[in-house]
């Protein structure tokens, strides 16, 4: 707080009102989505018809709740599977990258570092189509050459995982590198002096130290994967992750089921977000 600066009280109160208005603006759409998950009406809009849990637990048409809506449940599972693989792959590769960039000096390091950052500035939809074009070309060439089918290279979950992995790895690398930079190498040297093998020292000393950062990166990866839309849209096959299913529903016209799913998503992200905050706090 800056003291000793003359400011008229009108200015101060206008400023505060503006800040308040800003936070109302931030909260408004989210609160609306949550509130209308409980409206006893077929459309998520006014008038308010009374409170109901039907959009969560209802099993009678037209009130089919989230927990009885098969396509949505299935797409939640799909999203979960994708997020799991994306998190696993990006944390593994991110850890390798962190060791490479923090521990090793080599020619072309600066260039590789810039290349590593590139996925951040490529629009998601472009990442999606470039991978789609490339994998289809490879699949066509391989199929022409061998006469076999390469379904893994056609739009589908494998491509979705690879597409999300292609940019989430950058985040994982940055998070894990930041932690590795703070590591005191003399700890590892002590382990080596005590007779540990180089790999043994890394496994027993460095990796446990890195674990909070790896876990935080994993949580962020899961969240980003669950929320990703642009890249996924271009690579998706017949099994649609949650965001794609919801998007298709939204285009057709919405029912409060979508509000209910959104509310559940918010609760889940809040829990994961808190978990990552706690992990980061432990890291400091």
């Amino acid at each position: 707080m800056i003291v000793g600066i003359p400011q008229s009280s009108t200015f101060r109160w206008t400023y505060r009102a503006y800040v308040l208005l800003f936070f109302v603006y931030l909260a408004l759409p989210l609160v609306t989505v949550c509130v209308f998950a409980f409206n006893d009406s077929l459309f998520p809009s006014l008038p308010w018809e009374g409170f109901t849990w039907a959009w969560f637990f209802g099993d009678e048409a037209p009130y089919i709740g989230v927990f009885h809506e098969r396509p949505i449940l299935r797409s939640i599972v799909t999203s979960g599977v994708v997020a799991f693989w994306v998190a696993l792959l990006s944390v593994a590769v991110g850890t390798c990258n962190a060791f490479l960039f923090v521990r090793h000096e080599f020619r072309g390091k600066a260039l590789l570092y810039i290349l590593m950052l590139l996925p951040l500035i490529i629009p998601g939809i472009i990442l999606g189509i470039s991978i789609l074009v490339f994998s289809s070309t490879v699949a066509n060439t391989l199929e022409d050459a061998t006469g076999l089918w390469f379904d893994g290279l056609r739009p589908g979950l494998i491509l979705v995982v690879l597409g999300q992995f292609s940019f989430i790895t950058t985040f994982a690398t940055l998070v894990i590198s930041a932690r590795l930079q703070k590591f005191d190498p003399s700890l590892e040297e002590a382990a080596l002096n005590l007779g540990a093998t180089p790999w043994g020292a890394v496994r027993a000393v460095t990796l446990p130290y890195l674990f909070p950062a790896m876990a935080a990166a994993g949580v962020v990866a899961v969240l980003m994967s669950f929320e990703n839309f642009n890249t996924t849209l271009m690579l998706v096959g017949s099994d649609a992750p949650l965001t794609i299913t919801m998007f298709d529903r939204l285009k057709l016209g919405s029912t409060p089921v979508l509000n209910a799913v959104s509310l559940l998503l918010m609760v889940a992200s809040a829990i994961l977000g808190l978990a990552s905050l706690l992990l980061q706090r432990r890291r400091e």
Binding site: L28, I122, I126, S130, L162, F165
Partner: protein, 287 residues
């Protein structure tokens, strides 16, 4: 020992190279090659700039392109204007617990999927939505008001979606500004506006640049917000790319479009970094 060190180095290099070459470099190269293909028969192609010519000869395409660009610039400017006072308030006029709370409150909406946020705006803005009903019951409007499917709705959504990426770097840079500099300015008799112009903004420049770059990129590459809030006539360039790829199955033209969008986005990032004398790694570390 050195051999082992070398081995470890190559083992660490391998995943990085696989990732960058197979998922970033080759796909973009491939996309560029496809964009240069002109279909002359069934599975017969010539190399030419025909797809780019189509873009420049069809007013709908380049108008959409230009519109996407200036709408994104407008969204970036608006986000900066709205976000700057908030960042200043958080960084300079609060401290301790209030500061942390306000800062975290800025982050919360962004743990929620963009789809959910956009859905929220749809419920608020549409003809049967909250605002429409509110205006009618206040007597400000007769009959339902449609506030969805226009440019203002797209703008609202874009600014909302990008706010975090502006506020966080701004708070970080403003935080590092020494309060006594501002006080010294006042002591020397400068007006509030002069201090903002001479002290606060120059100091916050790295944050402003990195915020603007990220917000512009996100707006340019956004698909959900323009399509859902702008409706069928939103005329957003990513929508055209999607149409060419998925609806019309014209990958050659779609790739050309993709490359143009990538070019514009990279150009703006490059110019932003050059004009402000920042480097990519430093800017990205900030956001």
């Amino acid at each position: 020992m050195t051999d082992r060190f070398k081995l470890a180095f190559y083992l660490l290099l391998a995943p990085l190279l696989l990732w960058l070459v197979l998922l970033i470099l080759l796909p973009h190269l491939g996309m560029f090659v496809v964009s240069l293909r002109e279909k002359v028969g069934i599975r017969e192609y010539d190399t030419s700039f025909a797809n780019y010519a189509v873009f420049f000869n069809e007013p709908l395409y380049w108008n959409t392109f230009a519109r996407t660009a200036y709408m994104s610039i407008a969204a970036t400017a608006l986000t900066l204007l709205i976000g700057f006072p908030i960042a200043y308030y958080i960084a300079k006029l609060t401290r301790g617990r209030t500061k942390t709370t306000l800062f975290l409150m800025c982050l919360i909406p962004f743990w929620v999927s963009e789809l959910v946020r956009t859905f929220g705006w749809m419920i608020l803005l549409r003809e049967t939505g909250i605002f429409s009903n509110l205006f009618q019951s206040l007597g400000l409007a007769v009959g339902p008001v449609e506030m969805l499917y226009n440019d203002a709705a797209i703008m609202t959504g874009l600014v909302y979606t990008s706010m975090l990426f502006m506020v966080v770097p701004l708070v970080t840079t403003l935080d590092s500004l020494d309060d006594s500099l501002i006080e010294a300015g006042y002591d020397l008799g400068a007006s509030g506006f002069a201090i903002l112009r001479e002290i606060v903004i120059p100091h916050a420049m790295p944050g402003i640049v990195s915020g603007c770059i990220v917000v512009f990129m996100l707006s340019l590459g956004n698909y959900l917000t323009p399509i859902l809030l702008g409706g069928k006539d939103s005329l957003w360039f990513t929508g055209l790319i999607y149409d060419q790829f998925i609806t019309r199955f014209n990958w050659e033209l779609g790739s050309a479009f993709g490359f143009l969008l990538l070019g514009l986005s990279s150009l703006i990032v490059f110019l932003g970094l050059k004009l402000s004398g920042q480097s990519l790694s430093k800017t990205m570390a900030q956001s």
